[in-house]
Amino acid sequence: MENPYEQVHQSILSRIINNVERLNESVVTLNQELEHINARNKNLQLMGQMCENYHKSVQFNMTATNSKRGPL
C-alpha cells in the first residue's frame, strides 16, 4: 500500500524544514542587529544618566546656596 499522500507530506515537510532554516537565519541576523544597537545605545544611556545626575547636583547646590529661582 503506497500512500499517495506520503510524497506530498514529505515534500511539504521538507519545505517546512527549509522555511524554518531560513526563518532561523533571519532571526539570527535580527538578533545581531539588535545587539549592535543595544551596545551603541549603552553610551546614550550613560549620557542620559550623567545629565540626570548633573541636574540633581545642580538642583541640590542651588537649593543649598539659596540661589534657586523659579522659572522665568
Partner: protein, 255 residues
Amino acid sequence: MEQSLERLDQEITLHLQQIDSNLSYCFNKISQDVIPHVTKYGSVCDQVMDSSNWLKIMFQEAGNLQIDAVAGNEPTAATAGSQLQSGDQNSMQSLFPGKPRLSPDSSSVMVPPSLVQNSMGAPDASATTTTTTGQILRLPDSSDEERDARENDNHDSNSASNTETAHVGADLNPSRSADPDGSTIQRQRRKRKLSLLLQQQFGSSSSSVAPSPAQLQRPATTNNLDSSPIRKESTKQSNFVEPGTVIYFPTRDET
C-alpha cells in the same frame, strides 16, 4: 475506513500547509519589514550619538573638574572622618572612571586648567562645606543608590575598574588613582571604539546580507515547489496574505 483515512490525510496536508504558509509569512515579515526598520533605527541611533557627542565632551571635562574638586575636598572630608562621606567619595570615585572611560586623555591634559577649576569648583566646595554634613549626605546618598544601580547595570563590563578605583581611591588621591586606571580604561575605550566601528560596518554588512538569504534561497525553495506546481501561486499569495489563511492543496481535487 478508506474515506476516513483520506480525510485524515487531507487534514494533515492542510495543517502542514498552514504551518508552511505561516512560517514563510514569518520569514518574509522579518526579512522584508522588520530588519530594514531595525537597521534604520540603528542608523538613527548613530545619528543621535553623533549629534549628542558634545554632551560627552562636556561631561568629560566636567568630570575632570569634579575629580580635582573632590581631591581638594578630601582632606576636610578625611578630617570629618564619617563613614558615609567616605562611602560617598568611593561612589564618586567609582563613578568617575565611567567618565575617564570616555576620555582618559583629557584627565592628564586637563591638569593645567586646574587653576580654572578652582574658580569653577569653588562654589561646589563652598556649597558642600557651608552646608551641614547631614545635608551633604542626603543627596549623595540618594544618588549613591542610583549610582550603585547603574554600577550594577554596568557591572559586567566595568566591575573590575570600579572596584579597583574604589579601593585605591579610598587610600590615595583620586588623581593618582585615576591615571593608571585611565591608561587601561583608555585602551578599553579605544578597543570599544574600534569594536563599535566594526559593529557599524558589520551591521551594514549584516543588513545587506539579511535580504540576500531570502533572495538566494527563494529559488531553492521554488525547486521544492515543483512537487506541486499549483502551490507556487498559492505561496506567492500567501506571502502577502495574513498568516491564518489556508492554502488548499491540489490533491484534494485529484482525489
